[in-house]
């Protein structure tokens, strides 16, 4: 197998005295779904924040192997530039542009490319042909993802007026409009009903197969994680405590302990425990 798309090594993030992420290693490959699971407060979102340039890690290396641009150290880039190298994320508490329509949200995602093609607005103001073609292409891409995520009916609605489940889909569609190499999803199934969750699983598998991009998935819904992940990393208190295939993780003692905890520090919401029926046993 070739070298992984993303190689995180020794990632550490400290907030004052709190070590949110502690010398974490992680890899993500193209065409595979890599899940990161762990109890609330384990540091999963912090890993994403470091990866996508929102936090500058205290220590560690985030190496991206970009097919066109070679090896890129993400931690050295300014925050906004990470997305330009193809690492794009969604947010645990959805962040759309609420007063803009779904279609506009998807076009904003293509900003970097469109800005160049509009010659920083000059070609755009003059309405030159090159710009009009670029705009048509952008619109086609947006339309493709609107249809793919079943958003046609709401494409011209303001994103803020949509239901939670639909907003989640818009956020994924928006991320895909940046043409990413690595799609980082922070709890995409939170707030979805079981039917929506199942559809999300199919969608992610479809994206993986069709576009060959890497997907990094933080998720609490164990049926989803176990069903679609190629590899799972389990994090607790900022440290990786286990890594393996879904089957291996299911059987791992440390994972069971981290999730169900010693009786005095059970942080896990009951629904997670329900999602892992096989883990019920050891609690007794």
């Amino acid at each position: 197998m070739s070298a992984p798309l993303l190689e995180v090594s020794g990632l550490t993030m400290r907030f004052g005295g709190l070590v949110a992420v502690d010398t974490l290693d992680l890899t993500a490959d193209r065409g595979r779904i890599t899940a990161v699971i762990g109890p609330n407060g384990a540091g999963k979102t912090t890993v994403f924040n470091c990866l996508t340039g929102f936090y500058r890690p205290t220590a560690g290396r985030l190496l991206l192997r970009h097919p066109g641009k070679g090896e890129v150290e993400l931690q050295a880039l300014p925050g906004y530039a990470v997305a330009r190298y193809g690492v794009v994320r969604t947010f645990q508490n959805i962040r759309l542009f609420p007063r803009m329509t779904v279609l506009e949200n998807l076009l904003v995602a293509q900003h970097t490319e469109l800005m160049r093609k509009s010659a920083f607005s000059i070609a755009g103001l003059l309405g030159l042909k090159g710009w009009r073609d670029a705009q048509a292409t952008a619109l086609d891409r947006a339309r493709f993802w609107i249809e793919r995520l079943d958003l046609t009916r709401v494409a011209d609605e303001e994103a803020g007026n949509l239901s939670y489940g639909v907003q989640r889909r818009v956020e994924i569609a928006r991320a895909m409009n940046t043409n990413p190499l690595l799609l980082c999803l922070d709890e995409p199934a939170a707030g979805l009903n079981p039917r929506e969750t199942a559809a999300l699983g199919e969608l992610l598998q479809g994206i993986r197969a069709e576009f060959g991009i890497g997907i990094l998935l933080i998720e609490h819904d164990m049926s989803l994680v176990m069903g679609i992940s190629d590899r799972i990393h389990v994090v607790d208190h900022g440290k990786k405590i286990a890594e393996g295939t879904p089957a291996e993780i299911r059987a791992d003692e440390r994972v069971i302990k981290a999730y169900l905890g010693e009786p005095d520090e059970a942080e896990v919401p009951p629904e997670v425990a329900q999602d892992m029926p096989e883990l019920e046993g050891p609690r007794a």
Binding site: L96, F97, L107, V108, H111, L114, L125, I146, A155, D156
Partner: protein, 434 residues
Amino acid sequence: MARTLPDRLKDAALAAFVALLLAVPFIGLTTINTDVGLRVATRWDWVLWAVAIVFAGRILFGFAADAVSTRRRRTEARGPLVSEAAGRTLGKAFAAAAIAFAVTLPFLPFSDRYVLDLGMTVLIYILLATGLNVTVGLAGLLDLGFVAFYAIGAYTFALLAKFFGFGFWIALPMAGLVAALFGVLLSLPILRLRGDYLAIVTLGFGEITRIVILNWQSLTGGPNGVGGIPRPTLFGLSFDRRPQEGQQSFHEVTGIAFSSEHRMMFLYFIVLLLVLVCAWAVWKLRRLPIGRAWEALREDEIACRSLGINPVLVKVSAYATGGLMGGLAGCFFAARQGFVSPESFTFIESAIILAIVVLGGMGSQIGVVVAAAFIVLLPEFAREFADYRMLLFGAAMILVMVWRPGGLISSREPTLTLAGGKQPAESVVRGVGS
């Protein structure tokens, strides 16, 4: 929240007490001129009346506010008054009618110097508010010192004319560019600021600009201002009765009898042209990546960054574009007055321009036009009320904001639709029903 009667009485009594405290010195005591000098007289009956009016008024006001808020809740449940698609058609019709009116105004029978002058003032404020609307309405960046760009544009022309003899048409783009440059300079220190801090710093920028102009005597003439700013020419033709050496005048060349009103009309058409060009540019920019990035920045800066948008560039471009239009307005202002002084660029101007943007509905060009007309014309029509003019004006502003908290035009027009301009029928139905 409907309150009980005793509550209301207590509330009104409190208001009456405050009124009493204020009324005793302000109304109760008055000075009378007598032969031997000033004498203080008392008018306790007036005080009593004032307190009684406040007491009754406060109770009535409470009931009125309740009625308004219940009705608002009911209207909200029923959805918008006009469907979005109908609103858009209405907007287009309004824009066409407004442009047609503006273009024909100088030729209408009732049009005279006073009307044209007023028209120009309205247009200058539309131009200023169109610029500020980019910064505040679209990009969501507060700017309480917008008058700085107005001043910079005006002084750029005044000084270029004074020291280098530049004419209006060459100075116009330069005034715009210099103001845009100052927009960039202003945006750099405030990139990380938000809310109150942003308000304070931009306010300071406006004041600093005015104070620098006031004190830099050798360059700007300080409080004396700069005079002798040349009038604009039409392809080299002057509108003066006796043009300067080597210049031809409009009435000589065209053979139309000289009238000083022609110059007014010419100035009017210049500012109308500036407004149309700037409004068109903003309309166009909103539909380009930069304009969508402005709005996206207003909506969610963090999401912008996650999509590879550099917020610094977006903010800088928003301040620069707004500044550019402020500079153009300033240059025209200088040409129209023939004289500039720091007095024209005080904080109240920034406040008025911002009021136009907020009153119009953040981001709406039609809103800007309506609000500018409202804010400039209302005090004019209220001239008969003399001293109470500004009071009336304030009351009208408050009423409008109570009636339409989102501004006159609070719905946002999408920059494009999937249906390609045509709204899908289904969505119209939903717009009305839900």
